[in-house]
């Protein structure tokens, strides 16, 4: 757990000082919202409102790819990734620390993104904000764990920037389906279906375990 805490502290401190990931993701999501605003002619009409959950999660996935692509950049300067490979014990705790930092950063950006979407589609959720945050957290959990693993794998490849989305998008489809379904229910004023929430929890656990175990070998040449 020392390793987990150390990595989490280092990643958040580095991000606080550089603001590299947060700023690029925020600018990107802002642009996406502006594009959606002009691309959807009906404004906040019923048809567009129905599409809002899917669009929110599509935007989330694109922003996540951007953030994950940069999550390893501090590790690539000065080959610090090799320094992390020297940790005694399970290297999975390195992944856990990095994925948790990414999860927190993505969640902060998604909070802003969700606020913009709600304003764009003139949707008021009031007391359901907590439920929306929980669904965002669950959906982002899977993205952060498997995304950190694949970002590490692709970081040493010449084609890393192309490889990451190619590997990641197919694995994110189940998250997209379940999270968009749960979000649609919340935006419509209903509780999210237990099936969607359960699916998100199962995906989070499976992706986290697979990533934790595999990371031991990802850090070796």
């Amino acid at each position: 757990m020392n390793v987990f805490r150390a990595i989490l502290w280092k990643d958040l401190l580095t991000e606080w000082r550089r603001r590299e990931r947060v700023l690029s993701m925020l600018v990107f999501t802002l642009l996406l919202v502006v594009i959606f605003h002009f691309a959807l002619p009906g404004g906040a009409g019923p048809a567009n409102r129905a599409a809002a959950p899917g669009l929110l999660w599509a935007a989330t996935l694109f922003a996540s790819i951007l953030g994950l692509g940069r999550s390893l950049s501090p590790e690539l300067e000065n080959d610090a990734l090799s320094g992390l490979a020297l940790v005694p014990g399970d290297r999975g705790y390195v992944l856990l620390g990095k994925a948790t930092a990414t999860w927190l950063i993505l969640l902060a950006v998604e909070g802003v993104l969700a606020g913009l979407f709600l304003a764009l589609f003139e949707i008021s959720i009031g007391a359901r904000a907590g439920a929306l945050l929980a669904v965002l957290g669950l959906g982002t959990g899977g993205i952060a764990s498997i995304g950190t693993l694949l970002a590490s794998l692709s970081s040493r490849s010449r084609f890393g920037e192309v490889l990451l989305p190619l590997l990641l998008f197919p694995l994110l489809v189940p998250i997209l389906i379940a999270a968009a379904d749960a979000t649609a229910a919340i935006l419509a004023g209903d509780p999210p279906s237990s099936g969607s929430v359960r699916l998100l929890v199962v995906i989070d656990v499976v992706y986290l375990v697979v990533s934790f175990v595999s990371f031991e070998y990802v850090l070796e040449e």
Binding site: N2, V3, R5, A6, I7, W9, K10, L13, T14, R17, R18, P74, E77, N78, D79, A80, S82, G83, L84, A85, L86, V87, P88, G89, D90, R91, E216, Y217, L219, E220, E221
Partner: protein, 237 residues
């Protein structure tokens, strides 16, 4: 056996490594013992850095094995006994020198990371710049910080790849003294270098690599001229 029991040696046994179809190491045997310093010499592409990275657990051998006699068999735990200073510094430019060392100490479970970081900063003469971001450091200062980082957990075996790189004469001499102190304290050391003169000053045995093989092993102190001659012979062969 306690998980923290210090190993009696660090040993590469018939280690081979291929990168794709390119062989980098071909059956290398090498042993580091506590209190001894082995200099690994050889021309470019001989496999010096690869063998060091295999010993550190950064590169998985294609065949053969790395042993830590006397330590737990689990190589994940055995990593606690190895320190590695490579070509790259492993430093985070956005963190200060002190934060870099505290971070490394925390990774290795050092009991009091702040105190250990303070000690090392003094030893490396970096206390005046301890709270400056590492990204603002000169090459030599970054190298000194990297050397401190490599031994933050006081490893039983310290592996150093071109450790004099970027150091001015004063700090290069200081590094030689530090290596002697570490040997006296019972640490096993391996140094990869092209600087035969420095290797002759600090090492008590020499391994000459050529084409991924051990071309010669010279026990005991050697004169730089004798080492140069063996190096030329092995390169010609």
């Amino acid at each position: 056996m306690s998980p923290t029991a210090r190993p009696s040696a660090l040993r590469a046994v018939r280690v081979e490594k291929r990168f794709g179809h390119v062989p980098a190491l071909r059956g290398v045997d090498l042993e580091l013992r506590p209190g001894a310093l082995v200099a690994i010499l050889g021309p470019n592409g001989a496999g010096k850095t690869t063998v060091l990275r295999v010993l550190a657990g950064l590169v998985r051998p294609s065949a053969g094995r790395v042993e830590f006699p006397g330590a737990p068999r689990d190589r994940r735990l055995a990593r606690a006994h190895v320190g590695y200073v490579g070509h790259a510094t492993f430093l985070y430019p956005a963190l200060t020198a002190r934060e870099n060392l505290v971070f490394a100490a925390r990774l290795h479970g050092v009991a009091d990371p702040a105190r250990r970081a303070g000690e090392l900063l003094v030893e490396e003469g970096l206390e005046a710049v301890a709270d400056r971001p590492a990204g603002t450091f000169s090459r030599g200062m970054a190298q000194r910080l990297a050397l401190a980082r490599g031994r933050v957990h006081d490893p039983a075996f310290l592996l150093l790849d071109e450790p004099w790189s970027g150091l001015d004469p004063r700090w290069a001499a200081r590094l030689g003294e530090r290596l002697a102190e570490l040997r006296q304290a019972g640490r096993g050391l391996a140094v990869v270098t092209h600087d035969v003169g420095r290797a002759a000053e600090v090492a008590d045995s020499f391994v000459l690599l050529s084409g991924g093989r051990v071309a010669a092993t010279l026990p005991g102190p050697s004169e730089p001229e004798a080492l140069e001659a063996v190096l030329r012979e092995s390169a010609a062969a």
